[in-house]
C-alpha cells in the first residue's frame, strides 16, 4: 500500500515549524484513514467481481432450471450493494475529514466549507455522482433480491442477472475512467472548493432523487429483458413490475421538480424550465415512464399491449442511459454543462450502444414469440390508455428530435444551431393540451366498452364548473393574456374531473353522506392514487398557466427608493452592506416588501463571492404570499452609485411544484395498493391470495 510521505525531509525544502506541527497532526489522524480509503477502493473492485457472479450464475441457473444456482443471485446482489455502500461511506468519510490526498476531494472540497456541503459535495462532481449512480443501481438489485412479493423464481433470477450486467458495465466505467479514489502525491494543503452554485440544500436532494428515478427504471428494464429471455409474459409480470415502475416514476418526478425549483431560486433568472438539453435528458425518461405506468395497467387488467409495454420498458431505461451519457460526456452545449471530459463520453457511448442495441436486438428476436393480446374497442378505458400512450410517445419523440437535431445537423453539415424554448413550446405544448383535455374522459370510461354519452353525462358537472370558472377568471383579468384563464380552466377541469370519479363511485342516490364516505374509503388505493396524481397534474397546469400573469422589472434603486413589482406589491430598498460568510463574502441588499401601503415583510438578496473559485453567485430573495412569490434578485452596482435589481412578481408559481408533489403522492398511494405490496410479510401474502384471487378489482 502506498503511504503518503509527509515527513519534513522528503521534499528537501525546510518548511516553517508551525506547518510541520499541523502536518504531523494531520498525519496522525490520517494513517488509519488512509488504510480505510484503500479498503474503499478495493471494495469497488470486489463488487465488480461479485457482480460478474450475480450476472452469470443465476442466468445459468434459469437456463438449466437449477434452483440452487438461481438462488445465488439474491445473496450476490445484496453483497454487491454492501460493498458499494461501504465504498460510498469511505468516500463520504474522506470528504468529511477533508482528506486532500484524494484527487476528487481536493478538486471539489474545502476545509472551511460547511459540513452539510462537505457531505453533499460527495455527489456534486462526476466521479462521486457516478458512485452514487452505482450505489442506487446496486440498491435496486438488492431490493429485488429481498422483495417478497410473488415473482416466479425464474423471472427473478433472470432479472437479477440482467441487473448484474448493468452494474458490471458501470463499475468498469468508473474504475477505468473516473475513479473517485485516485490519489495525488504529495497531498495539497487546501482544496479547490465545490462549485459555489452547487453549495445549496437543493443539491443535497436533487441528484439522489433524480438518480433513484433514472436507475429505478433499470429494474423495469431488467424485468423486460428477463421476460424476453424466458419468452413468457403475462399479467403476473405486469403486477410484479408495476410497483417498481411507480416507485422509479415517483422519485424521477420529485427529482425533476426539485431540480426545477432549485434552478428557479438559485440561478436568479426566475425561470422554472428552460428546455435545456440536460433538463430534457431527465424529462424524456419521465415522459416514457409515464406512458409505461399506464400501459402496464392495460396489461395487468386486460392482458393486452404486451409487446408495446416491453418496448416501452426498454426505451425508458435507454433514455435514462442516454440522459447520463448526454450529461456526462459534454456533447451537448448546455447551461448545465459542468466541466466535463469528452473522452469519457466514448466509454458511456459504448455502454449505451451495448445495452440499447443489445436489448432492441433481443426484442426483435424474441418479441414475436410472445403471445399477442387482443385488440379492443376504440371507445373504452383501454382505448383511452392507448391514446395516452400515443400522445406521450409522440411528445417524447418531438422532445428527442429537438434535443438531438443540433448534434445530427452539426455532424452532417457542420452548421451549429441551437434549438431553444420556442421550438418546444410550438411542438410539445400542442400535444399536451389535447392529452390533458381527454384525460378526465378516459378516467371515467368503462373497461372493454365505454360509451361517449354516459361519459359525457358523468362529466357534465365537471365541465360546467370549469367553464363557468374560466369565464369568471377571464372577466376578472380582462385585457390580460387570454391563454392564462384558459390554462387555469383546464387545470380546474383536471382537478374536478379527477375527484368526479370518487364522487360518482361513492355517492349513489338514496344513500346518506356517511354511507358515501364509507364507500369512498373502501375504494382501492390505486383509484385514490390515480385521482391524486391526476389532480396534481391539474394543480401544476394552473401554476404553469399563471406564469403568463407574472411580471419582470429591471430597475436601479438607491436606499430609500420604492419600486412597484407587480400586482399589489412593491418593494423598498432599505440598505446595502457587505457581510462575510464561512467561505464567501457577500454584498447584501435588504428590502421591505409592501402590499399596497402596508409592509408585509423583509427580504434579503445578495451577490456572493467565493474566493477559492474566484466565482460569484446570486442569492435571490423570495417573499411568499399564499402560492405566489415576490422574487428579488441582486444585479450589479451602477456607475452612478445606485444598485441594479431584478424584481419579479410570480402569481401562483408555487402550484407548479405543489402539483408535482401531488403527482408523486399519487404514485406512492398507488404503490401501497395491496395488489402489489412490495416486501409484505409472507402471511399477509397468503391472506391476499386467499381473498384476492378474485380478478383484481374490476373497475
Amino acid at each position: 500500500m502506498r503511504s503518503r510521505r509527509r515527513g519534513s525531509g522528503s521534499t528537501g525544502i525546510r518548511r516553517p515549524a508551525r506547518n510541520e506541527r499541523i502536518r504531523g497532526r494531520a498525519d496522525g489522524i490520517g494513517r488509519g484513514g488512509q488504510l480505510l480509503i484503500e479498503a474503499g477502493h478495493f471494495a469497488l473492485a470486489l463488487a465488480l467481481g461479485l457482480s460478474v457472479i450475480q450476472m452469470v450464475v443465476p442466468f445459468w441457473g434459469a437456463r438449466t432450471n437449477d434452483p440452487v444456482l438461481m438462488g445465488v443471485g439474491a445473496p450476490a446482489a445484496i453483497g454487491v450493494f454492501a460493498l458499494v455502500l461501504f465504498s460510498f461511506g469511505v468516500l463520504t468519510y474522506a470528504y468529511v475529514t477533508s482528506d486532500f490526498s484524494l484527487m476528487n476531494v481536493y478538486a471539489n472540497s474545502h476545509s472551511q466549507k460547511p459540513m452539510i456541503y462537505k457531505v453533499t459535495g460527495v455527489w456534486g462532481n462526476h466521479e462521486g455522482s457516478m458512485l452514487l449512480w452505482i450505489l442506487i443501481l446496486a440498491l435496486f438489485g438488492a431490493l429485488v433480491a429481498i422483495a417478497r412479493n410473488a415473482v416466479p423464481p425464474k423471472l427473478r433470477a433472470n432479472t437479477i442477472a440482467v441487473q448484474g450486467s448493468v452494474t458490471i458495465a458501470f463499475l468498469l466505467f468508473m474504475l477505468l475512467t473516473s475513479n473517485p479514489f485516485e490519489r495525488i502525491d504529495p497531498a495539497p494543503f487546501e482544496g479547490r472548493d465545490l462549485n459555489p452554485i452547487l453549495q445549496d440544500i437543493g443539491l443535497a436532494i436533487h441528484p439522489p432523487l433524480l438518480y433513484i428515478g433514472y436507475v429505478g427504471f433499470s429494474i423495469t428494464f431488467a424485468f423486460a429483458m428477463a421476460a424476453l429471455i424466458e419468452g413468457k409474459i403475462d399479467a403476473v409480470w405486469a403486477r410484479a413490475v408495476r410497483p417498481w415502475t411507480l416507485g422509479a416514476w415517483l422519485f424521477l418526478t420529485l427529482g425533476i421538480s426539485m431540480g426545477s425549483y432549485w434552478a428557479y431560486y438559485e440561478l436568479g433568472w426566475g425561470g422554472w424550465w428552460f428546455w435545456d438539453p440536460v433538463e430534457n435528458a431527465s424529462l424524456l425518461p419521465w415522459i416514457l415512464g409515464t406512458a409505461l405506468i399506464h400501459s402496464t395497467v392495460v396489461m395487468e387488467k386486460r392482458d393486452a399491449l404486451k409487446i408495446w409495454t416491453i418496448l416501452l420498458a426498454i426505451l425508458t431505461f435507454s433514455l435514462s442511459l442516454m440522459g447520463t451519457f448526454l450529461v456526462r460526456s459534454g456533447v451537448l452545449t448546455s447551461v448545465h454543462a459542468f466541466a466535463v471530459d469528452p473522452d469519457r463520453g466514448v466509454y458511456i457511448l459504448a455502454i449505451l450502444v451495448f445495452f440499447i442495441g443489445g436489448s432492441l436486438a433481443l426484442f426483435a428476436w424474441r418479441a414475436p414469440l410472445l403471445r399477442q393480446g387482443g385488440i379492443f374497442a376504440p371507445v373504452s378505458r383501454e382505448g383511452a390508455l392507448v391514446v395516452n400512450n400515443l400522445f406521450l410517445a409522440t411528445a417524447c419523440a418531438t422532445v428527442l428530435i429537438g434535443t438531438l437535431y443540433p448534434l445530427a445537423l452539426e455532424a452532417v453539415t457542420g452548421a451549429k444551431i441551437s434549438v431553444g424554448p420556442p421550438f418546444f413550446n410550438a411542438t410539445f405544448v400542442p400535444l399536451m393540451v389535447p392529452l390533458l383535455l381527454l384525460l378526465p374522459f378516459g378516467q371515467v370510461m368503462a373497461w372493454k366498452r365505454g360509451d361517449m354519452n354516459g361519459v359525457a353525462q358523468r362529466l357534465a358537472g365537471a365541465i360546467l364548473i370549469s367553464v363557468v370558472l374560466t369565464v369568471i377568471i377571464y372577466g376578472f383579468t380582462y385585457g390580460g393574456p387570454v391563454a392564462a384563464p384558459l390554462g387555469v380552466g383546464l387545470g380546474i377541469f383536471l382537478i374536478v374531473g379527477s375527484f368526479n370519479e370518487i364522487v360518482t363511485r361513492s355517492f349513489t342516490s338514496g344513500s346518506g353522506f356517511r354511507d358515501a364516505m364509507r364507500k369512498a374509503r373502501g375504494l382501492p388505493r390505486s383509484t385514490w392514487g390515480t385521482v391524486t396524481a391526476h389532480a396534481g397534474v391539474g394543480v401544476m397546469v394552473i401554476g404553469i398557466a399563471a406564469t403568463a400573469w407574472s411580471t419582470e422589472r429591471i430597475v436601479t434603486m438607491r436606499p430609500g427608493d420604492v419600486q412597484h413589482v407587480g400586482g399589489a406589491y412593491s418593494v423598498r430598498l432599505d440598505s446595502v452592506f457587505p457581510r462575510t460568510g464561512p467561505n464567501f463574502q457577500e454584498d447584501v441588499a435588504r428590502m421591505t416588501v409592501f402590499r399596497g401601503d402596508r409592509a408585509i415583510g423583509q427580504e434579503e438578496t445578495s451577490k456572493r463571492f467565493f474566493p477559492a473559485r474566484n466565482m460569484p453567485t446570486t442569492q435571490a430573495g423570495l417573499h411568499t404570499v399564499g402560492f405566489s412569490q415576490v422574487y428579488l434578485s441582486f444585479g450589479e452596482p451602477q456607475p452612478d452609485g445606485s444598485l441594479g435589481l431584478r424584481l419579479y412578481y410570480k402569481p401562483l408559481i408555487l402550484l407548479i411544484w405543489i402539483g408535482t408533489l401531488f403527482m408523486g403522492l399519487g404514485a406512492g398511494i398507488a404503490m401501497s395498493d395491496r395488489r402489489f405490496r412490495v416486501g409484505a410479510p409472507v402471511r399477509a401474502k397468503r391472506d391476499e391470495s386467499a381473498s384476492g384471487t378474485a380478478p383484481a378489482p374490476a373497475e
Binding site: 466541466a339 429537438g402 441551437s418
Partner: protein
Amino acid sequence: MTRKQRRLTLIGVTGAVLAISLGLVLFAMRDTIVFFRAPSDIAAQGVDEGVRFRLGGLVEDGSIRRETGQIHYFRVTDGGASIEVRYQGLLPDLFREGQGVVTEGAVDGSGLFRADTVLARHDENYMPREVADALKAQGLWQHGDPAPGTQ
C-alpha cells in the same frame, strides 16, 4: 365493430397524431432555430441585417463600457475578428473580460450586434463548445490547455 375496423381506427388515429406532430416539428424547425456564428465567420461572409443568430467568443479585454439604464457595450472576439455588442439588462454572474460568452440577437444597420440574451454559465472552467471550436479554428486555444480566462 369488426376486428378489422378496430385495427383501422387504431392505425388511423396513430397516423393522424404522428402526422400532426411531424407537421408541428417541421413548422417549428423553420422558425425557431438559431444558428451559431463566430466573429470571424461574420467578417468573412457578412450577415443580413435583422437575422437572429448566436454570437460566441471571448469578451475582449478592456472593451466593456457601461451606460446608465443598464446598457452595456462590449466586443466579442475569437482572435481573428471582433464585433461590437450592445446589451440592455443585467449580465450573468460569470460575465467577465477574457471569459467565453454566448449572446443571441441580430445585427442592426450600423453593424452593431444588438443582443437580447447573454447566456449564463454554471462553472468558471466551462467553455461553451461552440466558442472553444471557434477559438481552435483561429489557433488561439488547443484542447487540453486550460480554457482562456479561467485563471
